[in-house]
């Protein structure tokens, strides 16, 4: 691409570095911003700078937060001794949407995957262990993705926490609501048969 302006070229190159954005789409976005009111582009730029510079992580759960301790962690109506371990903020948002969980979270910031250069030291694991070792926590719920890497991270955490005086559970994995049994894959159905739940607990919901 040949640009008539260095300023234009710089902006296009910056956009094109975003995931899923090619040079052509980048140019379209930049030209769009140029056609808008100046204030709009300035407001976009300022919010990006502010977000990147001022945004911080909750010192307790490592979720993205504007304050030192996030809203969830500082909510006294939530059970602070029930911790749900998740990979990132998207999982917090998903679980919060269900309105079924009244504990707090611990955001790992990823899962173990040497192929992606991520080892246990790159994740917020030590802080979870010391939180548990303080002895107040009743239950740790492992809620990572059911991929091999997610399971491996669950296993790693379990090995680190199993000697502490804490209950370690993992979220149920099984048949989606509304699915017909005959179409459920063998592995999932097999797990569901092994991990049955008392009928009374189903009635309670």
């Amino acid at each position: 691409m040949n640009f008539s302006s260095k300023l234009l070229e710089d902006a296009v190159n910056e956009f094109a570095r975003l995931p899923g954005v090619g040079k052509r789409s980048a140019l379209r976005l930049v030209l769009h911003l140029l056609r808008q009111e100046e204030a709009q582009a300035v407001s976009l730029g300022e919010s990006l700078i502010k977000m990147r510079k001022e945004l911080s992580y909750c010192k307790s759960c490592f979720n993205i937060s504007d304050t030192d301790i996030c809203e969830i962690c500082s909510d006294s109506s939530r059970d602070q001794n029930l911790i749900c371990v998740v990979e990132d903020i998207r999982d917090v948002m998903a679980i919060e949407n269900t309105q079924q969980f009244k504990g707090v979270y611990h955001v790992l910031g990823g899962i173990i995957s040497p192929m992606n250069g991520i080892g246990p030291d790159d994740l917020n694991i030590d802080s979870l262990i010391s939180k548990v070792n303080q002895g107040e926590i009743n239950e740790v719920i492992l809620a990572l993705n059911t991929t091999l890497e997610g399971d491996t991270t669950n296993f790693f955490l379990f090995k680190k926490l199993k000697d502490a005086n804490v209950e370690i559970t993992t979220i149920a994995r099984g048949i989606a609501v509304g699915d017909e049994l005959e179409y459920v894959d063998d592995v999932t159905l097999g797990r569901c048969m092994i991990n049955r739940t008392p009928y009374e607990t189903v009635l309670a919901r």
């Binding site: 192929m115 080892g119 246990p120 091999l148 296993f155 790693f156 179409y183 592995v187």
Partner: protein, 376 residues
């Protein structure tokens, strides 16, 4: 089990094709490069969710188009099974059974077993051990769903473990906890896979010997020897012993991913000593044993795809092979051949034959010998 109808759109050199098959012999006749093997490949695709010639889906699309469709109407245990495979450039492959999309392609493997015999099969004994492991894995995966899942996980862990070993070497460090979490899972998976391979070869080898004896008329003694570092050992110990070496070479040197199948003829490795004819007989016996084994495990007959084997085999072996496949042991068969007259001679006296003239992406069904009607 049999395939009643195959429809193709933009698959390889076919813009559009529809074939109605006989439940017995189906022959694709025509010059090389005309698309005979592509028809076998399409049938294979409906069984294994991928091509045996080129596993890259986008390269199987006809030139200047951007999608392909393969559809097959099967009959399995008197029930109709419609399999639909659609691929569009840049999209995820669609694979449906009776209009219901599979969530994982692996769930389809084994439903419609297919055995392919092709001239490339001699690579099985001549090339590296990975082809022989794949041969074993492909058979077991078709009747044991858990096996395929464990194998996929095992291989993924090996990749992760190798990445970790590299990272250790680069950082000149070692973290026991970080590697243990992979190794403990690896041991469990590896032991199960090893046991299943042992059990499989225990029942497979006698079937193979019987077939080889028939093809070679009992002139030579053959055997299959399963070689594994896990034989008689605890995988955990094997892994621990290999650790020092693994750290130096920066990849995993111990496990079932290093297994091999030693093929012997009169107690010598056939790789080194066998004649070309002996090797061909050996691999055909392997494939026919695969067929027999799957048939007894599944309780129904797989489809048999014979690619170009009559051109490459000597006449006496062809006669014997035909004797074998014409017996009641085999179900539906698909054959490719370049010379129609020679094929007709081979098929002399066999009922239930359908011949398709293939060339330039076109298929003409012109046989009058067919006993199945094309009403479907």
């Amino acid at each position: 089990m049999h395939l009643k109808k195959l429809s193709l759109v933009n698959f390889k050199n076919y813009e559009h094709a529809e074939l109605n098959f006989s439940t017995g012999f189906n022959c694709f006749v025509g010059d090389n490069g005309g698309g005979k093997t592509n028809l076998l490949d399409a049938i294979y695709h409906l069984s294994f969710c991928k091509s045996f010639i080129n596993p890259i889906d986008s390269q199987n699309i006809k030139h200047n188009t951007d999608f392909y469709i393969i559809q097959g109407n099967f009959e399995l245990n008197e029930k109709k099974e419609q399999i639909h495979c659609g691929f569009k450039k840049g999209k995820k492959k669609q694979f449906q059974r009776n209009k219901k999309e599979y969530s994982r392609l692996a769930d389809h493997i084994g439903l419609l077993p297919v055995v392919l015999v092709s001239p490339e099969d001699t690579m099985l004994i001549q090339e590296g051990s990975d082809l022989r492991r794949k041969f074993i894995d492909t058979i077991i995966a078709q009747f044991d769903r858990v096996y395929l899942d464990k194998l996929i996980s095992y291989n993924r862990i090996i990749s992760q473990r190798n990445a970790l070993l590299k990272k250790f070497a680069e950082a000149r460090s070692f973290d026991k906890d970080a590697i243990d979490v992979w190794d403990e899972q690896l041991v469990e998976l590896g032991m199960v896979i090893h046991e299943k391979r042992v059990a499989f070869l225990h029942s497979f080898t006698p079937i193979f010997k019987k077939h080889f004896e028939f093809i070679s008329q009992g002139k030579e003694e053959v055997s299959l020897e399963y070689r594994s570092q896990l034989a008689g050992e605890n995988f955990k110990d094997v892994l621990a012993e290999a650790m020092a070496k693994d750290r130096i070479v920066q990849y995993s040197t111990a496990g079932i991913h290093r297994d091999d199948l030693i093929c012997t003829l009169d107690e010598y490795p056939i790789k080194k000593l066998g004649s070309q004819g002996q090797r061909k007989s050996f691999v055909i016996a392997l494939k026919l044993a695969q067929y027999d084994f799957l048939k007894s495990e599944k309780g129904y007959r797989p489809l048999l795809l014979l690619d170009d084997i009559f051109d490459k085999l000597d006449p006496s072996r062809v006669v014997q092979l035909m004797e074998l496949v014409n017996g009641s042991d085999f179900g539906q068969i698909f054959i490719t051949h370049t010379h129609e007259e020679r094929l007709t001679a081979v098929l002399e006296g066999i009922d239930d034959v359908k011949i398709f003239q293939v060339g330039g992406g076109m298929v003409k069904d012109y046989s009058a010998k067919s006993i199945t009607d094309d009403a479907t």
